[in-house]
């Protein structure tokens, strides 16, 4: 079977969606959450509710220290930073196909939702759970909006994105050491997957796998 491939000769000067301001927005949102917390610090209870069960009852408290109370903001900032670097890597290391623009927009939308959800969690904790219900409704609305954004962004992309190098696919994984792309569009056309044959792939996969492990160790050490 002939392996025919096509590419545009035009150069692509578009950067990440939203420009510098758009990319900074999730971090500005988190900074805003931090400023709000700072201004209300005296109202934060001595024992801060941090986890709720399915019935809305608090089942875990933390003591009132800046790191404990602001932990959701710190975690969100780290996740947003990780997503931002992944977006940069996809921007520079993936083919310019139909999936790229919607994927990058979806990543920015996800960063914004993560930042807003974590701000809402801090608001619930810092107000001793008084705003639990409205904040949960806000979070529900955000998640629904994110799902709607994803459906809207990716509708039709699947048909436009040709399957890359069919012989390099092994179930869900793509591996081609001759392919200079670090990320390639998934077979479904929805988002990207890493090219395991790329020399940078294994360090990146190990780094990503080590993050949850580091989070578990950090949680155990601070307990």
């Amino acid at each position: 079977m002939n392996d025919i491939r096509e590419a545009s000769l035009e150069t692509d000067s578009s950067g990440l969606p939203g420009g510098v301001l758009g990319q900074l927005l999730p971090f500005l949102l988190l900074a805003g959450g931090g400023v709000w917390l700072f201004t209300r610090w005296n109202d934060v209870p001595a024992q801060v509710p941090m986890h709720w069960d399915a019935h809305g009852h608090v089942n875990h408290y933390v003591s009132r220290t800046p790191l404990h109370v602001a932990m959701p903001l710190v975690l969100a900032a780290l996740i947003c930073l990780l997503v931002h670097f992944m977006a940069r890597a996809i921007r520079s290391g993936s083919p310019r196909g139909a999936a790229r623009k919607p994927s990058l927009r979806m990543m920015l939308a996800a960063e914004l939702v993560i930042a807003a959800v974590c701000c809402a969690v801090v608001v619930i904790s810092a107000t001793n759970g008084r705003l639990f219900l409205p904040a949960m409704l806000f979070i529900f609305f955000l998640i629904m909006a994110l799902i709607g954004t994803g459906i809207s962004l990716f509708s039709g992309v699947r048909k436009q994105e040709p399957l890359r190098n069919p012989s390099a696919w092994h179930a869900l994984f793509y591996s081609d050491s001759e392919d200079p792309a670090l990320f390639v569009p998934k077979r479904s056309g929805l988002g990207y997957t890493i090219n395991l044959g790329h020399r940078a792939a294994i360090p990146i996969v190990l780094l990503l796998l080590s993050l949850p492990l580091a989070a578990v160790i950090a949680a155990a050490l601070t307990r």
């Binding site: 002939n2 000769l9 001759e178 200079p180």
Partner: protein
């Protein structure tokens, strides 16, 4: 404007890329001042080694069609038509005859071949 390669073809990939860009250049579809995709962009899009695209761009730069700028990419430059070396017409005629013979041998009807030759000539005229 797109470039299309066939990894199963006899012709090396760098030559396929160079031939197609050259065709766009001589037909005037790519004009002086136009910026081409960077080596990195084109290599990633096509899923081929960077050196393959760099070789194609390098060949076109040697022929005077492109100016290569590190980190920026390739730019089409004004190129004075070179004076054809002596015997070039005969050489071209021989190469064309061999190509036509090959096509006829593979079963292409002469009328189809004639139409294809005319179309190719018209497409390449600026």
């Amino acid at each position: 404007m797109k470039v299309r390669i066939d990894l199963g073809a006899e012709s090396p990939v760098w030559r396929q890329i160079a031939d197609q860009i050259r065709a766009l250049l001589v037909s005037g579809q790519l004009r002086p001042g136009a910026r081409l995709a960077t080596v990195r962009e084109l290599a990633i899009d096509l899923g081929v080694n960077h050196n393959t695209v760099a070789t194609a761009y390098g060949r076109l730069a040697d022929e005077g069609f492109l100016r290569l700028v590190r980190g920026v990419g390739a730019e089409v430059v004004e190129r004075a038509a070179p004076k054809a070396p002596a015997g070039e017409t005969e050489r071209f005629g021989r190469r064309l005859s061999a190509l036509v013979a090959e096509a006829r041998a593979s079963g292409l009807p002469s009328l189809t071949l004639q139409a294809a030759l005319l179309r190719a000539a018209e497409d390449l005229l600026p």
